[in-house]
């Protein structure tokens, strides 16, 4: 059963990474303006 000592931390870390990733996207307001994001991709940022 020693394998559990690796597997459980790995499983938890992966899960935690996903959670942190989601919380980060939420915190950095990535779901705030889904419509605007679709339009902004058309803008040419190099111009200015």
């Amino acid at each position: 059963m020693d394998i559990l000592l690796y597997l459980i931390p790995i499983a938890l870390t992966l899960g935690l990474a996903g959670l942190v990733g989601f919380l980060w996207t939420l915190k950095s307001n990535q779901y705030e303006d889904l419509e605007g994001a679709a339009h902004r991709i058309l803008l040419d940022d190099d111009e200015d």
Binding site: L4, I8, A11, F22, D33, G36
Partner: protein, 766 residues
């Protein structure tokens, strides 16, 4: 303005792409501008525009900078975003500017002094985008939704990971897994569960605490109790090296319930519009002429007797009498009628109406807080306060559920402890299982899932639910009261017939493309041939004049086009003349929505009483009612009488839905049991309505009613399913047969059944 030189030969020159005059983006159908934003920007570029004192609303960031969020109207394309952001960023001291297209708001920050915000707002205004202040409730709702989402993420993560451990625990008995491993699993579960419960359970704990403080109870009390007791119990079991822990049940319970809670919040929050939008029309600045000098005065401070100048395209700031000039006024805000009204010196105009064709000077007769607009808003507020508080089905179920569950848990504890003489730990364990297994998961999901599926389905049909209980209320109605203009009818004139030759019609239509007058637009819409490029001059209050290939053409009023006879019918009309001689008449009328007859017939066959309520003349209203097939008509009613009429119907025992679009309907909408309005309606009217539908057709009224009735049936079925489940599960829990595995299976099983049942909503055709 050089708007006359438009390239409108979309049929002739296919290789020449028309571009937006303002931003240079290729436009569709040879239009001059890509969007109204750019058009307004182009017009406003030379005109000085004053912004209201927005800077007072700015947030002080404590580091010498200020941040301001404002609603912004008219963002349609990527170039609008860039235009606004770049214009602001180019200003000195601006540290950030961001446009949010979904919520139509602009957030920008600057350093220096607070007042600079006004100048920056003016920059955006000058680009032609209207700004308005936001209200705080929207902000708060968005924050609440976000924190729910975070809680879902955390509990979802925890539930998933703990399930990995739990499956291991369930699938092995005491023989295969040693006690040390089992304890390790329990400890890891505890390590994940306890912080999760403390974090993700907060919405429930807070709500439970606040009602307990008021000495009431709600659904959150047993939920909080079950979750907390399950955790405490499981910790003690873990310490005692016990066999069963309920960490996973507690976390899963939270996860399911949070989903239900989030869906509920979304349903409530959708399409939440700010009521302040309308009143923001009265927040601006008026141009006052005093002793030959022009001054800017906040509209709020306008006094009766002041002389204000109203430019073309501007809203009239206060009720008053026209002193100088003549123009056409868009009265739709007040009357719901779309035809502009011609005004001359001496005519009365109202605050909030829009001056369409020429500048006028208005002598203010009432201060802005006494204007007709403010009065209607006040009337609306009184109606809304009078609206009986409706107790939702789910809340009634919760009222019944809570005491029953608590009593059951207490009885189980007492039963095991006293009657069976079990140790108190064991008795408490059984009591806690009862609390967990009666799991309000199914109950918590029963309504929101149906609600979300129903609103999703309605959304695809172009129907927007604005209040959470709209569907439930809608399913109960037995009477519908319709407004006439814009609700039963299309609310805009369309071409009925004309007496022009092909060439004349082409010229008339080409001229019409360059006017914003509703009749000109109707003509343009009705004409589908090739258009000519003609320089057109608009003569205020009269019509359009153009010279083309040596001849002078006029499109406008009867007299102006040289026709002397009086009209012999009630239709709206335009006349066309060539070199001063009348060449023919075009008649227009406001038609019924295309499917109105059919929909009304269906509603009648569903035993719904139909009424027509109109502010229009009796004869016109009767005509429309006869055409649509409505028997009960009341015409020439004021806004106050409309809501009075609704109250009388209610007193007679009818459950009424009001369908209307004008500002004059708003009080009636608020007075009705449930209300609907088309998306072409005024902001405030849409705000008041429970349901908003987008379409040229009237069929959404029928669809919404059908889906509402269906979803109410499904909700009731879901409650029944939850009840059946509890009848089976509770005795098992009371008798102590339930293990964590049984609890988990029962919990997810019942939730799944409820969700699957809700999905039947999508199977039925409407």
């Amino acid at each position: 303005m050089e708007t006359g030189t438009v390239s409108t030969e979309q049929a002739a020159s296919c290789c020449e792409v028309a571009t937006c005059k303002h931003c240079g983006v290729p436009t569709e159908g040879g239009a001059t501008f890509c969007c109204t934003g750019c058009e307004a920007a182009h017009e406003a570029i030379h005109r000085l525009d004053e912004a209201a004192a927005f800077s007072l609303l700015a947030h002080d960031n404590d580091d010498g900078s200020y941040t301001l969020s404002l609603g912004v109207e008219g963002i349609h394309c990527a170039s609008c975003i860039r235009l606004i952001e770049n214009a602001l960023l180019a200003e000195d001291g601006v540290v950030g500017a961001r446009v949010n297209m979904s919520t139509e708001r602009l957030t920008f920050s600057w350093t220096n002094c607070r007042e600079r915000g006004d100048a920056l707002a003016a920059v955006v205004n000058k680009l032609g985008y209207k700004l308005h202040p936001l209200n705080d409730t929207e902000e708060a709702a968005a924050t609440a939704e976000k924190s729910l989402l975070r809680a879902i993420a955390v509990s979802g993560f925890a539930a998933g990971n703990m399930m990995l451990l739990s499956v291991g625990l369930w699938s092995t008995g005491g023989e295969t897994m040693g006690m040390a491993t089992r304890d390790l699993f329990h400890w890891i579960s505890a390590l994940i569960a306890l912080p999760t419960v403390l974090y993700a359970g907060q919405p429930f704990f807070r709500s439970a605490y606040s009602v307990l403080k008021e000495r009431h109870t709600n659904m959150d009390v047993p939920i909080s109790l079950a979750v907390l007791l399950a955790c405490v119990m499981s910790v003690s079991e873990t310490l005692r090296h016990g066999e069963h822990v309920y960490f996973d049940s507690a976390v899963m319970l939270l996860f399911f319930l949070l989903i239900g809670r989030y869906l509920d919040a979304r349903a409530k929050g959708k399409a939440r519009e700010s009521a302040s939008k309308l009143l923001s029309r009265l927040v601006g600045i008026a141009t006052v002429l005093e002793d030959g000098k022009i001054t800017q005065v906040p509209i709020k401070e306008l006094r009766p007797g002041a002389l204000v100048m109203v430019a073309t395209g501007e809203a009239v700031p206060a009720d008053g009498i026209v002193e100088k000039g003549g123009s056409a006024i868009d009265m739709s805000l007040i009357t719901g009628e779309t035809m502009p009204e011609a005004v001359v010196a001496g005519a009365e105009v109202f605050a909030g109406t829009v001056n369409l064709s020429a500048p006028i000077q208005v002598r203010v007769s009432k201060a802005s807080d006494k204007s007709l607009l403010s009065e209607i808003v006040r009337l609306l507020e009184t109606s809304e306060q009078g609206r009986a508080t409706y107790v939702r089905l789910a809340d009634r179920a919760a009222q019944l559920y809570t005491p029953v569950v608590h009593a059951m848990g207490a009885l189980t504890f007492i039963g095991w402890w006293l009657l069976m003489s079990a140790p108190w730990q064991v008795s408490l364990l059984h009591a806690v299982t009862v609390l967990i297994i009666t799991c309000p998961c199914a109950l918590g999901l029963a309504v929101p899932v149906v609600q979300v599926l129903a609103s999703g389905r309605l959304m695809r049909a172009g129907i927007l639910l604005k209040s959470g209980d709209a569907l439930e209320k809608l399913s109960k109605i037995d009477t519908i009261v319709f407004d006439k203009t814009g609700t039963l009818t299309q609310g805009k004139p369309s071409l009925r017939s004309h007496a022009l030759g092909t060439d004349d019609l082409q010229i008339a239509a080409s001229m019409a493309t360059q006017s914003r007058h509703p009749l000109a637009r109707a003509l343009k819409d009705a004409y589908d041939g090739a258009l000519l490029t003609i320089d057109v001059e608009e003569v205020p209050g009269k019509g359009l004049r153009a010279e083309h290939e040596g001849a002078v053409y006029q499109l406008g009023s009867r007299r102006w086009c040289g026709e002397a006879d009086e009209p012999d019918d009630n239709f709206l009309e335009l006349w066309f003349s060539v070199n001063g001689k009348p060449a023919g008449r075009l008649s227009f009328s406001d038609r019924l929505r295309t499917d109105a007859r059919e929909v009304l017939a269906k509603l009648r066959s569903a035993d719904i009483e139909l009424h027509l309520l109109s502010g229009d003349r009796e004869a016109v209203a009767k005509d429309v009612a006869a055409e649509a097939g409505i028997d009960i008509v009341k015409a020439e009613v004021t806004p106050a009488e409309k809501s009075q009429y609704l109250a009388e119907l209610k007193a007679k025992g009818n459950t009424v839905m009001m369908v209307g679009d004008g500002l004059n309907d708003a009080p009636a909408l608020a007075a009705a049991h449930v209300s609907m309005s088309p998306s072409s309606a005024m902001d405030i009217t849409q705000n008041t309505a429970d349901i908003v539908f987008q379409a040229e057709a009237l069929v959404p009224v029928w669809q919404a009613l059908q889906i509402a009735r269906l979803s109410t049936v499904l909700v009731k079925q879901n409650f029944a399913l939850a009840a059946i489940y509890n009848i089976v599960a509770i005795p098992a829990a009371v008798l102590g047969f339930v293990t964590p595995l049984v609890a988990a299976v029962a919990m997810s099983g019942s939730s799944l059944i409820v969700i699957l049942n809700a999905f039947r909503l999508n199977l039925r055709k409407v």
